[in-house]
């Protein structure tokens, strides 16, 4: 309450004085400054991440030691969902569902894109703020509201949504089918609808800002690859998120107002339901029209961050700048016409399956180009092994390992037999989950000084990376093999099938790696929160980087630069350019007389 009163005192100042005097509320809560909004996104994302990863620890324990009693289950799930400390089967499905939802949308979409698009777009293109600071603020608070509703849905009596993060109807539409499809599902849908509104506002802002507010000299071919990635990501989001919104709305109609968009001919709990003529396959199309681009909404920002960090820390220009942009564009375009590879065996016409196999495998080409370009950027570099660099190299590694199995899943013939098995779980966790998470960590280690004016402890960073890297492979590599043995995902336990008894030791191994990996994220959390207050004070350009954000003062000010906006004279990747003493040439340095651009642009 005192803070509110404080605000009122200063309301007077705002009217009469032109320089801003921030109150606690306008500075830390309803801020319209992109740097503060970025921090808000990051911290909300981290909190949601703790919940999401924590849930995976719980269900991994159930998978390794099925139907055993654990104190932690009783503590977190309560007597209702874990009677006597044994996890119930619908509680397991609820955990899997909410884990997926939170990680995909709340951590890797909002937490990653929201944080770094907000922080870097104005700073790297030389703008004072986003095109609309107010809309940016609304975008964050809608995100906060949707996170809050999602967390509240965990506490409703019938349990949270439990139909998988893909919420296929009829399971998600009928409370008779699974208890989580009652109030929990309603809250899930409301939360996602608000989330989509938030995401759209953010994306529109990013696109408008990148197109209109670039500083003098910052042509599109002088943009850092981070900005290219955020820009294209925002475009994909604008194209595909509204489709999920329509799917969610139609599902709400089916659930609450008795329409039959997705439901037909259903007999459940001893009675025939009135639904007639709808099709769940329609929902699958609408869902994956967002769902697949979503993978790239998650991944492209991570790749953009990696491009920037690998170039900076290799002290070399990113290899194939134009090819990198071209591959981002190609991926963005292809990502909107491959959704059907999630539906090869959904009952849609097999001819469509052929078409989607074709487009899906095409997407491997720009992805391969990106991977090779990263590797070539390392070649003959002078690699500075900062934690951000380690996470970036780690990303390239998991991107390759996870991406390669896409050749199998994208092929309709092979998908028949590994569809919805652990093979899929291994594939997408490596290629989008772990890779995007590495991108997020890399971004945090790299731009922490920019966000908080202090450095993260590098030794804790090294411990964090190496344990995480080993555990990530330890968890997801063996998963391919239990998938190839035919073990379906989303099984509460595989003890109902003696056929899978020989996979139990693999499940234990995976869980041990998961628990160790999860526990070591505490190292990061410790480092992060302690360094905000007690970290070593950062210098202006600690990584000796070329991009504009490092020309702004360490202390955050409104408008980013105290005087004139910086002017840009060159592309962002002039590292170790012949003819310069330093191994970096910031974008603000004018071209020397007779200096040539050594790259194609």
């Amino acid at each position: 309450m005192s803070a509110v009163g404080h605000d009122n005192d200063h309301g007077h100042d705002h009217e009469h004085e032109h320089h801003h005097k921030d109150t606690f509320i306008t500075k830390y809560i309803f801020s319209i400054d992109h740097k503060m909004i970025a921090k808000q996104y990051l911290i909300t994302g981290i909190i949601m991440g703790i919940i999401g990863v924590g849930m995976s620890m719980l269900f991994r324990m159930q998978l390794a030691w099925p139907e055993e009693s654990f104190g932690v289950f009783k503590f977190f799930l309560g007597e209702k969902f874990a009677p006597g400390g044994v996890m119930r089967n619908d509680a397991y499905l609820a955990l899997v569902t909410i884990h997926g939802t939170i990680m995909v949308f709340f951590v890797l979409t909002a937490g990653l894109s929201g944080t770094f698009s907000n922080l870097l777009i104005p700073l790297q293109i030389g703008a004072r703020d986003m095109a609309s600071g107010f809309m940016n603020m609304i975008s964050y608070w809608l995100f906060f509201l949707s996170s809050l509703i999602m967390v509240i849905s965990l506490f409703v009596e019938s349990g949270p949504a439990s139909a998988g993060w893909t919420i296929y109807p009829p399971l998600s539409a009928l409370p008779q089918a699974i208890p989580g499809s009652g109030t929990g599902m309603t809250l899930w849908l409301v939360s996602m609808a608000i989330f989509i509104a938030s995401s759209l506002m953010g994306s529109l802002n990013y696109v408008v800002t990148v197109i209109n507010l670039r500083t003098k000299g910052m042509s599109m071919t002088r943009l850092p690859l981070t900005i290219w990635a955020f820009f294209i990501t925002a475009v994909i989001g604008i194209v595909s998120f509204p489709v999920l919104l329509s799917a969610a709305l139609l599902l709400i109609f089916d659930r609450s107002f008795g329409t039959s968009f997705f439901l037909s001919d259903i007999y459940i709990a001893g009675e025939v339901l009135h639904y007639q003529g709808g099709s769940p396959v329609l929902f699958e199309h609408l869902f994956w029209f967002l769902g697949h681009p979503e993978v790239y909404i998650v991944l492209l920002p991570a790749l953009g961050i990696t491009s920037e960090i690998i170039a900076t820390n290799s002290r070399k220009p990113i290899f194939g700048y134009r090819a990198m942009i071209a591959s981002i564009l190609a991926i963005a375009f292809l990502s909107t016409i491959v959704w059907g590879h999630h539906m090869f065996i959904s009952g849609m016409n097999p001819f469509l399956g052929s078409v989607f196999t074709f487009t899906t495998l095409l997407i491997a080409i720009p992805s391969a180009v990106k991977a090779f370009n990263y590797i070539t950027t390392l070649w003959k570099g002078n690699l500075q092994m900062n934690p951000a660099m380690l996470f970036s190299i780690g990303l390239v590694s998991t991107f390759i390992t996870g991406g390669l199995t896409g050749i199998i899943l994208g092929d309709s013939t092979l998908d028949i037999n590994v569809h919805d098995t652990y093979f899929v779980v291994a594939h997408f966790h490596l290629v989008m989950g772990i890779s995007a998470l590495y991108g997020m960590f890399a971004g945090i280690y790299h731009w922490f000084p920019r966000m908080f004016g202090r450095m993260l402890n590098k030794n804790l960073g090294y411990i964090h990376f190496w344990v995480t890297a080993i555990c990530a492979y330890g968890v997801f590599f063996p998963m391919h093999f239990i998938g190839m043995a035919g073990l379906p995902r989303r099984y509460y336990t595989n003890t109902a099938f003696p056929l899978f008894d020989d996979l139990q030791n693999v499940n234990v191994l995976i869980t041990v790696f998961a628990l160790v990996g999860g526990a070591f994220q505490l190292v990061f959390l410790w480092n992060f929160f302690v360094s905000i207050f007690y970290g070593k004070k950062a210098v202006q350009n600690p990584w000796r980087s070329n991009t504009l954000e490092w020309t702004a003062p360490v202390e955050h000010i409104h408008g980013n630069w105290p005087g004139e906006l910086p002017e840009v004279h060159r592309w962002p990747y002039d590292y170790s350019k012949p003819g310069f003493d330093d191994d970096f040439v910031p974008q603000t340095v004018p071209m020397k007389e007779g200096e040539e651009e050594l790259h194609h642009s």
């Binding site: 290799s314 002078n382 391919h480």
Partner: protein, 386 residues
């Protein structure tokens, strides 16, 4: 108790890490008094070597996984004719993946090790090279073109079923949380069905007045004849399910409101499969594990586990509710003669429906007028009118 232990372990871990970093920090202050938190030569060296070690770790993990878990049960020994094509393509793709994985990971981690930073060293300014870009665009294009062609060839063969072919039509019916199968009988045509006809033993909602339905037979254990093409028509009663028959390389979703299909020719009987050396070894291994577990269970005063014998299975592979993890049906593949004998012993659905109604005939004479039944009768008419 466990949670307390976990918390203690975590706290100790945190303390250990804290002390470790302190030691790290102290050793560095002694050396360079560098507290910038930016990587120095020492960090570059250590992490460079770590990168190399990590490459070894990836290879070791790969090899360990292949030896330990890599019986590749679903890449060889398929029990259907088209399975051979799927397996071939899987092998080709897998080998390709391992080669690319081996090379790219080696380059990535070796470069990270070889070019680790050093004060005073200058990196090579190498911004682009169109020839290189072209090479690593065109190679994937060619390789993928091959994979796409083979894949589409196999896919077309599997998915497009010639209706005139000599096939046995079988319906797979999914509901929370069990499977049923319906054989189309002599006429090889399934009788019409709709959820609105579901009543008593007629769990599949078959229209018993349909002439095609007169010889339909409903069973809860799926039997298939070896060497004959089986065309599965799939339906679901409530939510999405997926009929997954891994040994036959077959899977198709069951969607309420529509009929989906999948066809294959089983080419190994259950008995033949049980004698296959791979399966013999697998079963022996599983029984060893089960025996061990049984001993533990009996010690605790619980019932031991039965020994396992191989059977083909139909699993549900689309999340369908709390007991999704235990929705299965046994599949038996046998010779055509055995299959015919087995099927001829089964009663038709129509006779089962009659048998159910007969004893009730007198007491239930007023039943159709019952209020609970009335709406069902109405909707039936609507469906019939359509």
């Amino acid at each position: 108790m466990t949670s307390l232990l976990v918390i203690i372990v975590l706290v100790l871990l945190a303390v250990a890490i804290w002390q470790l970093t302190k030691i790290f920090d102290l050793t560095q202050i002694g050396g360079l008094s560098d507290n910038s938190q930016v990587a120095n030569d020492r960090d570059n060296n250590i992490n460079g070597y770590m990168m190399f070690a990590f490459l070894v770790f990836i290879y070791v993990t790969t090899i360990y996984c292949i030896i330990q878990f890599g019986h590749f049960p679903l890449m060889s020994n398929s029990a259907s004719v088209h399975g051979q094509d799927v397996d071939n393509l899987m092998w080709i793709s897998m080998i390709l993946i391992f080669i690319v994985q081996f090379i790219t990971q080696a380059l990535l981690h070796y470069f990270a090790f070889k070019y680790r930073g050093k004060q005073g060293k200058k990196a090579l300014y190498f911004a682009d090279n169109d020839k290189l870009e072209f090479i690593w665009t065109i190679i994937p294009v060619i390789v993928l073109a091959g994979l796409i062609l083979y894949g589409l060839y196999a896919w077309t063969n599997i998915m497009f079923v010639d209706e005139d072919e000599d096939v046995i039509v079988v319906e797979l019916y999914a509901k929370q949380f069990s499977w049923e199968a319906r054989y189309s009988g002599e006429d090889n045509v399934l009788g019409k069905a709709n959820v609105r006809y579901i009543e008593g033993v007629n769990t599949l909602g078959v229209d018993v007045s349909d002439p095609n339905a007169q010889d339909d037979k409903v069973v809860t254990e799926l039997h298939l004849p070896k060497g004959k093409k089986v065309l599965f028509k799939m339906r679901s009663q409530d939510v999405l399910h997926s009929a997954y028959m891994p040994h036959f390389r077959a899977q198709m979703n069951c969607v309420p409101g529509m009929v989906t299909q999948f066809a294959f020719v089983p080419n190994k009987t259950t008995a033949e499969m049980r004698q296959h050396p791979d399966i013999v070894e697998k079963v022996a291994h599983i029984n060893e594990l089960r025996a061990k577990k049984s001993v533990e269970l009996v010690k605790k005063g619980e019932q031991g586990l039965d020994p396992y014998n191989f059977d083909f299975l139909l699993l549900c592979n689309k999340i369908c509710g709390p007991s999704h993890y235990n929705m299965q049906m046994k599949i038996v593949v046998e010779s055509e003669a055995d299959f015919k004998k087995w099927l001829s012993d089964k009663p038709t659905l129509v006779s089962a429906v009659k048998a159910e109604k007969e004893p009730k005939a007198e007491e239930g004479a007023a039943a159709p007028a019952d209020t609970t039944k009335a709406p069902v009768a109405d909707t039936t008419k609507v469906v019939a009118a359509k």
